[in-house]
């Protein structure tokens, strides 16, 4: 069997295969619902209702999408330059840790001064965490996939150590959690009385900035060139190592902001359960978005909707919440295959 490129794919092919991928995801979901003894369409209905059925549900979905926008952007930026950052989880926790270090009373400034400083520090922390594997890759040729993955485990243990040591909340009744942020360090809500916080707004701004960098700057062009063909980029005089390191700083910084946004916008303190795998889910978000920054926003809302909807569906219909992870994984695999099939056809040789 071999793949044969299609010179001018028709509209049916361009739209048909992605539609099939969505259909396949629904089919898997239906099978899973049936296996749990539930009626598929009522399960889908409950997921949709839980994700977007009320004002509360929509805001909950947008809240859940916020960290995914940041981690999704982090992955999209890195993957575009073929820097395989699988460590957004660690970078997120680095950003969250700096947020509670600075925001629990160390700096007693008004919010207008404090918030930008904490956000910048969180981004810097995330950037530095990815800079280490990026340097190992560029200087020593150590594969960053494995190092970034392994750093996730190291970082979570490090955070756990801090929460049982120097960062432990003295008022926390012995729980491994940090003290709460001072009010000046909290991200305000976008609309008073509703739970959605400015982290979401910051995410949208980040997406726009990434889009500008990627499409309107020389750096964006260089990042793309390095991703498409490293040798050719080198031959064309692009400083490949420097571009990879800058990409790492941007990517890690975005993931660090995810930690800042979660702590300062939503939780108010740090625990080891801050992220239920936002770093890993960011990879799926980025791939579903085809690495496009605005696509990341849409994909993050979509994936967040499935998770939020599945949570509420699970309470009502008794189908395990892990159906959400399975739907998202199926959607990812089906979609990457579908995108390929819009441009190639499989021929027997």
């Amino acid at each position: 069997m071999r793949l044969e490129p299609i010179a001018a794919p028709g509209l049916a092919r361009t739209l048909g295969f992605p539609a099939l991928a969505i259909l396949a995801t629904f089919a898997v979901g239906a099978g899973l619902a049936l296996a749990a003894g539930a009626e598929p369409f009522s399960v889908f209905g409950l997921i949709l209702q839980g994700a977007a059925g009320s004002r509360f549900a929509i805001l909950e979905t947008l809240n859940r999408a916020t960290p995914l926008i940041f981690t999704g952007l982090a992955v999209a930026v890195a993957f575009r330059a073929r820097l395989w950052n699988i460590g957004a989880e660690a970078q997120l926790y680095a950003g969250a840790t700096i947020t509670v270090v600075l925001g629990t009373g160390l700096l007693l400034w008004p919010a207008a001064a404090l918030l930008p400083v904490i956000a910048a520090a969180a981004a810097l922390a995330g950037a530095l965490v990815l800079l280490v594997p990026a340097l190992l890759k560029t200087k020593l040729g150590v594969d960053e996939v494995v190092t970034t993955l392994l750093f996730n485990f190291v970082m979570l243990l490090f955070v756990s150590m801090l929460l049982e040591g120097p960062l432990k909340d003295p008022m926390g009744m012995g729980w491994p959690q940090s003290a709460r942020l001072i009010p000046e360090a909290r991200l305000p809500r976008i609309v008073e009385g509703l739970r959605l916080h400015w982290g979401f707004g910051l995410g949208l701004i980040a997406a726009a900035v990434v889009w500008v960098i990627q499409t309107r700057t020389t750096l964006g062009y260089a990042m793309r060139a390095v991703g498409e063909n490293r040798q050719a980029a080198e031959f064309a005089g692009i400083p490949v190592t420097r571009v990879i390191l800058i990409t790492a700083l941007i990517s890690g910084g975005l993931a660090g902001l995810a930690g800042f946004s979660e702590v300062a916008g939503l939780r108010g303190n740090l625990t080891t359960t801050l992220s239920p795998g936002f770093g890993y889910t960011g990879i799926i978000v980025a791939m579903l978005a085809l690495l496009h920054p605005f696509g990341v926003v849409a994909a993050a809302v979509f994936v967040a909707g499935i998770f939020v909807g599945a949570d509420s569906m699970s309470r009502a219909a008794g189908v395990p919440t892990y159906i959400a992870d399975m739907l998202v994984a199926t959607a990812l695999l089906a979609m990457v295959l579908a995108i390929l099939l819009t441009r190639f056809r499989l021929r027997r040789s």
């Binding site: 069997m1 071999r2 793949l3 899973l32 296996a35 749990a36 395989w84 699988i86 190992l136 020593l140 040729g141 150590v142 594969d143 996939v145 494995v146 190092t147 993955l149 392994l150 750093f151 485990f153 190291v154 243990l157 490090f158 756990s160 150590m161 049982e164 040591g165 890993y280 990879i283 799926i284 791939m287 008794g318 395990p320 892990y322 159906i323 992870d325 399975m326 998202v328 994984a329 199926t330 990812l332 695999l333 990457v336 295959l337 390929l340 499989l346 040789s349």
Partner: protein, 315 residues
């Protein structure tokens, strides 16, 4: 210092080294086979979860222990088939597909677990593999209890290393498999199917990874817990690199890793462990893996066609 000596001369310590190494040996050999054929399999973490669940679930539902191992292998091979189908004939990104397979296999196991045991907080236990002392050899001081009083699955793990090494370096099949990862065009010129060899390698390799997972629920412990694989799969990927894609070296690396892991567990129980946060000890295996990658980075002989999709007619 005496504490360290005490640890090093205790037979139970060396038995723990072998026990910790066993699941990693299966999974490392599995990953090595995949990568030798030219396919990076990041599904390893999830496939180990699936194997741990499938083997344990089968035995809990009444199957025999060896049937459970076979079912775990089959479950792993099925996820391997999914991975191979997407990455070999379709040539999709091995990073993306691997991470997708890890997520799919992990969540499928958790979903099935929740369906089978909806409200359970402590998972049921099974009658796991028991130590099988080899008469005579098991009585040798220190070495005997460490090497020859393990479960049958541990013996199988070491046998697997030998078989993988033999097949890869002493048979035509092994030569074809390695060539598929080094120079697929040469394999195709011989009239062999690169696609077939790679897909077969990924399926067998994934089956071995799943057996490594099953070791956790059927030999090391007797129950299935969420998060029980806990990064072991990623460690195995590092061990393959550390072993320079050679079964013997990778097995030695695995034993070295297991030595440090067992040592940090013992060290936690000493006076030092009382002063140092336990998280430092738990970090050591991961930091060691990173260190191993750095040390080997200069000398590694990566299979030339690793992660390069094969398209017939292209050179």
């Amino acid at each position: 210092m005496t504490e360290v000596v005490d640890i090093l001369v205790s037979a139970s310590f060396w038995a723990a080294v072998i026990r910790i190494a066993s699941p990693l040996l299966f999974a490392t050999m599995g990953e090595l086979i995949c990568e030798r054929a030219g396919v990076l399999n990041l599904g390893i973490e999830g496939i180990m979860v699936a194997g741990a669940f499938a083997g344990w679930m089968a035995v809990w539902s009444g199957a025999g222990l060896w049937t459970g191992v076979a079912i775990a292998f089959g479950a792993g091979a099925l996820f391997g088939l999914l991975h191979a189908t997407l990455t070999v004939p379709f040539g999709l990104s091995q990073h993306v597909v691997g991470l997708g397979v890890t997520l799919l296999a992990t969540s499928a196991s958790y979903y099935a677990y929740r369906l089978a045991l909806p409200q359970v907080t402590t998972p049921p236990r099974i009658e796991a593999f028991q130590p099988l002392p080899i008469p005579g050899l098991a009585d040798i001081p220190i070495l005997g209890p460490a090497l020859f009083a393990q479960t049958a699955m541990t013996y199988l793990a070491f046998a697997t290393v030998a078989v993988v090494a033999l097949v890869l370096w002493r048979t035509p099949l092994g030569l074809a498999l390695r060539a598929a990862g080094e120079n697929p065009a040469a394999v195709a010129a011989q009239g062999l199917s690169v696609t077939g060899i790679r897909m077969g390698a990924v399926m067998v390799g994934s089956g071995l990874m799943a057996v490594g997972g099953a070791f956790l629920t059927m030999s090391a412990f007797d129950s299935f817990f969420f998060e029980m694989v806990n990064g072991r799969g990623w460690v195995c990927i590092a061990l393959v690199v550390f072993g320079a894609w050679r079964p013997g070296k990778a097995a030695l690396g695995t034993l070295l890793f297991a030595f440090f892991d067992a040592f940090q567990i013992r060290l936690q129980q000493t006076a030092l462990g009382a002063d140092v946060p336990y998280q430092i000890f738990l970090m050591l295996p991961f930091l060691l893996s990173i260190l191993a990658l750095i040390v080997m980075s200069r000398r590694a002989e990566v299979p030339a066609a690793l992660m390069v999709p094969w398209r017939k007619g292209e050179r």
